[in-house]
Amino acid sequence: MSAPQTLFEKLWQQHLVAEPAGEPALLYIDLHLVHEVTSPQAFEGLRLAGRKLRCPDRHIATVDHNVPTTSVHDRLVIADQIADKQINALRKNCADFGVELFDVQAAEQGIVHMIGPELGATKPGMTIVCGDSHTSTHGAFGALAFGIGTSEVEHVMATQTLPQSKPKTFRINVEGELPYGVTAKDIILDIIGRIGTDGATGYAIEYAGSTIRALSMEGRMTICNMSIEAGARAGMIAPDETTFKYLYGRRFSPPGFMHTTPQTDARPVEHRSTIRSFAVGQTAEPVRDLWREAVAHWRTLPTDPGAVFDRELTIDATQLAPRVTWGTSPGMVTGINNRVPSPDDAATEADKKSYASALEYMGLKPGTPMEEIKIDAVFLGSCTNARIEDLRAAAKVVSGHRIATSVRAMVVPGSQQVKLQAEREGLDNIFKTAGFEWREPGCSMCLGMNPDILSPGERCASTSNRNFEGRQGRGGRTHLVSPQMAAAAAITGHFTDIRNWNFNGKEAKQ
């Protein structure tokens, strides 16, 4: 028997094209996701060198970073001419090089890290890259997924491979039942707070433990999404029944039959007379159950018992409180029940300086209770927290309330699919009645490349992933929180402990 392997080790081994001595390994890339901002220079590079895409079917494109979210009209006729030029460049590049593009009006359009999973393009066992650091999101499916720069984008396009030095492995075990009001976002913010924004540099993280297993795919994506904020190359979670159930029946998922008791099911793999065979005009020939074959492979991926990681950390989820960031880096985070720290609390001289400059930028006084910090804006969106589950949770908080008069608030669904589903469930009406703007899908105010930005000094409760200086607009002050916490802050006008929330006038915990 071979030595026990980690999930990461299996993914790595299964994609090794070559291991030249004294050079980085050459890894095969199964899926490259493309968006308008980090791809034009790569396509241009291919053109100049007279190169083609090696496997056009392994690239999927959409527009997300630049697109206005205000209205369908504003998206079709983009006022910002430089943004419009960039989006048109993507259209031309996709047409010229044979890449499927989910354009601004497509029913599948959305943030690139939303649509990969929604389409079933993201699958366990794959290597996935994109010119965007939040590519780690796809690790939630048991894939090795990481962000790359534009030169690497060009490299993947030309060769379908990437030279990579092997990261070390880091398992973070999160154990126990999540307390009421605490979410996946709070788990990952807590982890970053503990290990620091460079705490996992050089590592691929695997999140494990009973808390992670109990999370939905949406929650798992939120956690893997922010792995990069701890400096990690990638974050991943072993695939299980939750993963398979999410993927079954999606557009690019392998077709076949979902068995209710798959592990003990001994029925033959072949089936006759499926709808699929009629559709292609075949008679009763045996049809392979591709879904079943795929699941059988995916079940071999989880880390073997006894496999060794370079580093491990265990977190007791039962002790977590909702998190709010107070500074200008995601590691500057504390519990909603705490106070703004003082530079004197910092461990090192360098940290003291960082704390002081962050507090100055954020306009905060040490010792202020987090709950007393007033906000001007609320952004519910981004590849971290704009999935249907996030909108449902926020709508539950908002229902029956109105946002504070001093606050402007917007919901930007992560994708057209999420927007449609939310509208089917009437969530849009709950938000609109409460005074939120209901927007079209895109990256929006997470990075403010489109017109959605904060004004200097404006303070925002945001469900996104980065509270860097100026991230949401020059001088803007960002506090990262969960969707529930953002929704509550919109109503009260200041950060509010969701654990004491009065749901629609009813008792909490209902």
């Binding site: 220079q41 962000g147 460079d198």
Partner: protein, 212 residues
């Protein structure tokens, strides 16, 4: 990519930790479809002041001090280049004229992006970086000599430190090599790997269309 061997140049201290790529080049400049022309927007929010009707150089920002004009070496705090994967950060540093960044630690993606644009990143100890930071702040016309061949950083006051670098990265930087060309040396292995790998339809993005 321009090869880099030895560089003696003016050094400028940027004494901040966790400088993210949003600071190096803010998002509003990522809409361009070229690789060049980002230098004037490097550290934009720090480098300029924003009166209601005028954007002016910020005299407080270190890069604007006349004594650092023409600097090609940047000395930085820990975890430089964290955050977004935007290669525009490397393009902006390059376009401004920086050929080398000296610090303690660099974020992964930025480290890779810098290498692909011929920017040498030197990892020194915290004490060494603190020394350089202080000397660059206090010594007029403070120059460093960085030798990639010897893997050393030296100054005229007797400072000398060794930095580690992956041998392959060193080779690529010394030669100014293009990665795609290097990878295509393995094309036969790639063809063979791909022929087998393509049968694993569960690893295809469009698995539903993979077999008919």
């Amino acid at each position: 990519m321009k090869p880099i061997r030895t560089l003696t140049a003016l050094a400028v201290p940027l004494d901040r930790a966790n400088v993210d790529t949003d600071q190096i080049i803010p998002k509003q400049f990522l809409k361009r479809i070229e690789r060049t022309g980002y230098g004037e927007f490097l550290f934009y929010d720090w480098r300029y002041t924003f009166a209601p009707d005028a954007v002016e150089p910020n005299p407080e920002f270190v890069l604007n001090a006349p004594r650092y004009k023409g600097a090609e070496i940047l000395i930085v705090g820990k975890n430089f280049g964290c955050g977004s994967s935007r290669e525009h950060a490397a393009w902006a540093l390059n376009d401004y004229g920086f050929r080398c960044v000296v610090g303690t630690t660099f974020a992964d993606i930025f480290y890779s992006n810098a290498g692909k644009n011929g920017i040498l990143l030197c990892r020194l100890t915290e004490d060494e970086v603190n020394t350089l930071m202080a000397r660059a702040a206090n010594t007029p016309q403070y120059k460093l000599t960085v030798s990639l061949e010897d893997q050393t950083v030296k100054d005229a006051q007797g400072f000398s430190a060794h930095f580690d670098i992956d041998p392959f990265r060193k080779f690529c930087l010394l030669e100014g090599l293009d990665d795609i060309g290097l990878t295509l040396r393995h094309e036969a292995e790639l063809d063979k790997f791909e022929a087998a790998h393509d049968k694993e339809f569960w690893l295809k993005p469009k698995a539903a269309n993979a077999i008919t």
